[in-house]
Symmetry: none
Subunit: 250 residues, 2 copies
């Protein structure tokens, strides 16, 4: 039975050989570690099922204390990126099984600039979900939501069109009365705030959005679910196409 710590054991070779993690600068140490391991997992350098070196070893390799490394591992555990098993070891999980939007965000931001594949994912997901949300909103909305929509439509000349657009989407999500939808839409909007500039850089798209805001507001006010769904679907598919074109041409 071991009684002493850090028995100066030679590198264990029955686990993945060497994952080349860099020693780290002095400040937000554990955050740097989180980023490093997160990136190695997301890029596939660390694959699902692989066992990380023991904490004592890994800490030494990173040139940090074990407690600091453990704080980093705890964060990665919450993000669903690693599985920590008492008495056994730390195992890499499949990051696509993660439900952490933090991880998704890390995937999106891991490349400089805009990753066309990720933006395409976002725009597709919006196109898939929002038409039905618009229909739900048309049915379940109350006067308060209609008032809010009209406010945005009327005030939007004083409002950047991207902000107005996000506000319209957000209000429609609220009007749908569905908690999950509100949550998901909040996340979509946070991402679209980054990427919407590619779409709204063209003036004709801005005009189209203004018209869209008027039309969807009217459809929801009239409780016309079918029309709301159609309007939303059309504008999102148009925006999808134009945004991808703008990104590829840039």
């Amino acid at each position: 039975m071991r009684q002493k710590e850090d028995p100066k054991g030679e590198a264990v070779e029955n686990v993945i050989s060497n994952i080349k993690l860099n020693p780290v600068s002095r400040s937000r140490l554990h955050e740097d570690i989180v980023s490093q391991i997160q990136n190695k997992i997301i890029t596939g350098e660390l694959k699902a099922g692989e066992k990380l070196p023991a904490e004592r070893e890994l800490a030494m390799e990173l040139n940090v204390n074990r407690a600091t490394l453990r704080e980093a591992l705890k964060k990665l555990e919450v993000q669903g990126l690693v599985d920590i098993r008492h008495g056994d070891g730390v195992y890499v999980k499949d990051f696509l099984e993660s439900e952490s939007l933090e991880v998704l965000k890390a995937m999106m931001y891991r490349e400089e600039g805009a990753d066309p594949e990720i933006i395409d994912s976002l725009l597709s997901a919006r196109s898939a979900l929002l038409p039905e949300v618009a229909a739900m909103a048309a049915i379940k909305r109350d006067e308060q939501h209609v008032r809010k929509l009209k406010e945005i439509v009327e005030a939007k000349s004083n409002m950047p069109v991207l902000e107005a657009d996000l506000a319209v989407h957000h209000t429609i999500a609220r009007a749908s009365g569905n908690y999950l939808v509100i949550f998901i839409l909040n996340f979509f909007n946070k991402l679209f705030r980054e990427y919407g500039k590619f779409y709204f850089s063209a003036p004709e798209n801005e005009n189209r959005s203004r018209k869209f805001h008027r039309d969807i507001c009217e459809a929801i006010a009239k409780r016309d679910a079918h029309k709301a769904r159609r309007i939303m679907k059309d504008v999102l598919e148009y925006a999808h196409e134009r945004t991808m074109k703008a990104i590829i041409d840039r």
Copy 2:
């Protein structure tokens, strides 16, 4: 300047007086702490903006070591529930502003039994999103996904029907090739694992699901997006109705 630790200072009174956190049993200590603080935030006992006692104090109150408390706080930080400011303190955040699905899950699980409104939200959101995902999957799937679906369909007599159902949804999400959709579906599935029992308690629903798995697999294998969308839509609307009925009648 302080040179010694734990200067036996009297309880500081310029922060929230006493949040009554219970000392904790010996195993998964930091997880118990996470749960306690999480609950206190979600129930509103700890309000946004409030400052937690200093780590050294809080650790003493919980009867745990400071390192253990810090691991718990790091997890809460990732969940977006607290804001840790070096040299200042730990502040409670507004959990409704969080984009962490972990937090949403904690909110859903905080009541005993099943909250009909939450389940209705979940089933509506599924009905809104998944038909389009099925259509996407029919177009973008490759052979690997078809093989996986057939495996599930054939093996599912040995598999609890709920697990088979979740696996089918998950495979379809992967086949869609849309990262956002995969993440969102993972989350839906984790919730539905809790609530699906209300639906599958009826044998006729289990049979319907088996047929659904066969049909959607076939439609996707044939790249028939229209049929896949229709099949998914029908089964989800049926499941929505039956599940809500089962819950209300229970």
